[in-house]
Amino acid sequence: MHDPVQSIETNNAATDGAAADQPIVRIRGLRKSYSSLDVLKGIDLDVRRGEKVSIIGPSGSGKTTLLRCINRIEKPSGGHVYVDGQLIGEKLVGDRYIDMEDRELARLRAGMGMVFQRFNLFPHLTALQNITIGPMKVLRMPATEAEAAALALLEKVGLANKRDAYPEMLSGGQQQRVAIARALAMRPKVMLFDEATSALDPELVGEVLSVMKQLASEGMTMIIVTHEMKFSEEISDRVIFMDHGAVVEQGSPGEIFRTPSHLRTQTFLRAVLGRQAYQ
């Protein structure tokens, strides 16, 4: 029973192959509903290699759900997601899509880093162990190698001196930076940020944003759900405005923030930025 499935997967990989000009993330007709509530109503989205895409919109617009459906932490109700040409969470058998095995899905998830609003560091592990556990238990990297890589990442996020600290001893900003390092340790092809600074005290937002900026400058592909409009304008190649489970409009930060064409976008930005931004 497993053999035909296996060969089809290999075929997919061959035909979908990772050509350089191909979008690294391809989303087609993505839908998600909870009983009668449609949270995502058919999203199509392509993200190029190295592109920084911000997703903005009112709460309940489905932006977080969209992000969570990309790495299938949330199972979509319909539609498909491809990362690097590879179908995520499903396999095409004949003309039917069937769910992938946990093990295969896990392997694909390893290629997508995710940063959560509430950090979700592992409280029983030190900062260093939070970063090494993925490489060691998923990639089967030897401990010494994983630790060396983790220390380099802690250095990068400015927390080398906190290697042995447990999460509860760290500030929110420090926890989020460790969480970014934890995701980076898996050498992801794309990073997903789910309102990474929303749970932070205002004075701690900057340190996390600056780590994200650095990451952007290094060419990482980033999909960023955010309420930080200024940051989004500064960092993004493209801004997507979502409302009621659909993409209302998208364009360059200049287009979206200066000359939004849809009324809903204008209303939202006015509410978020305050009137003076449009004087």
Binding site: D102, L121, G134, V138, A179
Partner: protein
């Protein structure tokens, strides 16, 4: 005062202690064996009952409902006498450990289920997001955190189990109560012997109880931070 003036049971004391302490060794063996077995089954079925699979959840549910609803003594008799009639003959100590494990496992699987469910959903999401399978996430992220949560009820369970092992006397496992019964029927010093047994049980349960209290205090402090 000469030896003749001493109460008669004092002269028997070395003999009593000898028999009771060898019984206490068996009590400890059955307790430790039953505890380890209960924890293993408790983790296994606790994990089943929180699994995504309806089949595993159903299996866990049936196991818990059956063994939570049966008296321990009934389970012990079925394992010792019942299995013997179909050719599976366990020695009394193995039968007792098996019985306590199965019974305790049903109880502890509920404790572990609650412990597992108390871990925030974000933890397993974070584990999945770095490429862990559900199994690996359970082993390295969820289980270690759940065990911390269930340590106090686990310690209480251990104390209860220590006392419950006296039931193993019913299947002739030579633990403390069984040996005490034998001594009483030999010498008729029932009061003295059972008081001695009580003292010996307390010698084992009080340190356990003290350790539990220390543990709970430490956990409370950890939470307060």
């Amino acid at each position: 005062m000469t030896a003749a003036d001493w109460p008669a049971w004092i002269t028997h004391l070395p003999h009593f202690l000898d028999a009771l302490l060898s019984g206490a060794v068996i009590t400890v063996i059955v307790t430790v064996g039953g505890f380890v077995g209960s924890v293993v089954l408790g983790i296994l079925f606790g994990a089943f009952s929180t699994s995504q699979s309806l089949l595993l959840r159903t299996i866990a549910h049936i196991y818990v409902e059956i063994f939570r609803g049966l008296p321990l003594l009934t389970v012990l008799f079925i394992i010792f006498f019942g299995l013997a009639t179909i050719g599976i003959r366990l020695d009394p100590i193995s039968a007792a450990i098996t019985g306590f494990s199965i019974n305790g496992g049903a109880y502890l699987s509920e404790v572990f289920r609650a412990g597992i469910q108390s871990i925030h959903k974000g933890q397993s999401e974070a584990a999945l997001s770095i490429g862990m399978t559900r199994m690996v996430a359970f082993r390295y992220i969820i289980l270690p955190q759940s065990i911390r949560v269930v340590l106090p009820p686990l310690a209480n369970f251990a104390i209860g189990l220590l006392k419950d092992t006296s039931l193993a006397s019913a299947v002739a496992a030579p633990e403390m109560m069984f040996n005490a019964g034998r001594l009483v029927s030999e010498t008729f010093f029932a009061t003295e012997i059972y008081l001695l047994v009580a003292a010996l049980y307390l010698c084992m349960s009080l340190p356990l109880s003290l350790a539990t209290r220390l543990l709970e205090r430490r956990m409370a402090r950890a939470h307060a931070q």
